[in-house]
Subunit: 412 residues, 2 copies
Amino acid sequence: VDLTEARREAEQLDARDPLAHVRDRFSIPDGLVYLDGNSLGALPVAVPAVVEHVVAQQWGRDLITSWNVHDWWDAPRRVGGQVARLIGAEADEVVVADSTSVDLFKVLVAAARLRPDRRTLVIEPGNFPADLYIADSVAELLGMTVRRVDPRDVRTVLDDDVAVVSFAQVDYRTGRAYDMAGITAAVHDAGALMVWDLSHSAGALPIALGACDVDFAVGCGYKYLNGGPGAPAYVMAARRHHATVRSPLTGWTGHARPFAMEGSYEPAPGIDRMRCGTPPMLSLLALEAALGAFDGLSMADVRERSLSLTRLFLALTDRVLAPLGFEVVTPRADDERGSQVSLAHPRAYGVVQALIARGVVGDFRYPDVVRLGFAPLYVRHVEVVDAVEHVVAVIEAGEESDPRYVVQHTVT
Amino acid sequence: VDLTEARREAEQLDARDPLAHVRDRFSIPDGLVYLDGNSLGALPVAVPAVVEHVVAQQWGRDLITSWNVHDWWDAPRRVGGQVARLIGAEADEVVVADSTSVDLFKVLVAAARLRPDRRTLVIEPGNFPADLYIADSVAELLGMTVRRVDPRDVRTVLDDDVAVVSFAQVDYRTGRAYDMAGITAAVHDAGALMVWDLSHSAGALPIALGACDVDFAVGCGYKYLNGGPGAPAYVMAARRHHATVRSPLTGWTGHARPFAMEGSYEPAPGIDRMRCGTPPMLSLLALEAALGAFDGLSMADVRERSLSLTRLFLALTDRVLAPLGFEVVTPRADDERGSQVSLAHPRAYGVVQALIARGVVGDFRYPDVVRLGFAPLYVRHVEVVDAVEHVVAVIEAGEESDPRYVVQHTVT
């Protein structure tokens, strides 16, 4: 397989890429082809100094006074405002708090309470498993029924018993992107509320929560937002719900007067009511510093770069990898694709492990998926060619059949 | 007021203090008298290098492989095991996850589900407000009733409708410590389950969850455990409940086979089932490093030092501060006291602010409490004398009546 020509074209794409300089905002090990930014985003260069300051100066020197002096208190809302710009929400509609699963729990209970006469929760069967588990738990607590349906078929289940519909905008496994505007409108037509999980879309493509009239959203801080391992997640609640929405996780930081230490809960007037306990400040302020990597970028440009990367990978896959037994799982239409490409292969686990041994990091999703993420802020076109070249080399040498690589699904 | 003699005695206490060297495990600004370790523990010297490594090497260089290479995956259980040693639990009974409020929510729902025929939740009126709010929310979700009673009077409300009793071992406001063994036994005699919030006791006094047969506990990572601002909290579940307890926060990390990405939730066999989403690794690993400050210490020695500090402060208060209008709120009997002393004063807010301006950091609790925490790992006896001297100076100069110090309860 000769990829000389492909490499030259990729180099040209990189040379005229208006976002090529953004890679300098990240610290990426030399020689590593990192295609797992959809799982854990790379380290932005601005982060280490900020974290060092938070530890040594804010915690170490200023101690408890940092809640005011360094405005720790307002950080969840402040960082929420930064996230809001990336997802098409107003700054006062987003707050950073807890994990994605905990936030989804809050939002599903809160949304269901806004439709008390309806008893059905709709979710898609291919959603990230935690979303399925949380939906089942919410349904058990509230005495509701869960229906699972492909988002493209949502209209077939919408009736006047559906309280809430909750979908992921981009499927974590296949990389399929759903039609946020159309689905949200259909859900509203049926009188239900719409929740989107943005974990696999925010930071990779333009999102217009406001324009799509979305009710609630949640998302992860450590994938395309690059906030660091386990960075806190975020909740978006449309302003029209702020007066009435009630989170079941009534922690003190969501109280209207948190320092009055009152005996009963009165939710804060705005998005703060979706907060719960004290946030993990090291992780939260690392996320804040990381979000600076998006400064000055238009999400339309970011999306164009993402599509350019995935288009190139799909073209090379068709030409080079399909004959080696790889089948494209991700949709080919640009508007149905996130920023990853998933390939099915009978020895997918071995392929992923052999690639990692070669310095090409993607991940495996049970049972047979090689998942490669093209984080649009730092992956280069030449690395797309590198990846394809290494996949070919793996298969040609049979490296994926190494007995160490028997399918395991109990490790990452 | 002449404190010369008191200072000499304090210096002697410090000189023969077997734990005096432990202060060297902390980075405390020169000249600062820090009496707020019950709210945010000081920075252990081991932490900055660990956090730097986590950011630059684990996240930055090893990226996603750190889940295995640096065993991020097992960190919640591993750090839980460290906490277990401080609270008298088995290593496999404690896991670090989420915030105290979120963990209390999990535990109250989980415990109530173990007593499905009982509909009453008992909590004390003076508990940290978040605990009250969370209990109310749990009761609403499960259709239960909350009764609030002073822990010393718990026997008056125990009947066969009580499913769960949840108290704080040490009251955050008064510093009163409750009888864990006696109360837990009484609750069990009534067929109910016992939950303790250890936020204001763990790390300051010996706790014997196992010996007291406690069912569940939660606690904060950033007070006497010194884990850093918003460090994750922990959950203890007694081993006898592991097979049957069900958390309502069914995140993927609590699943029996988290990487199998199954469509329905099956809780992990042990304490892992109390996990939920991906933990904030920077904050979690800072907590792990911080807990090293307890290495080689016996909690009995730590407790003796804590009592020595609070006894000295109480004695000086009686002699010097009582005539200036300060009233001791905290119990005087050693076994009824945590590691803080609270003083009521009509201008408490101004006193706290004036002390902070003088480099003596305590905190204010609405409406009239000056709260001073004597973290036993790093506060010295001479600092107790310093604090008293500064309180005297504040009152003598009328500094607490500065018009800037009008009572505010909307700031920390």
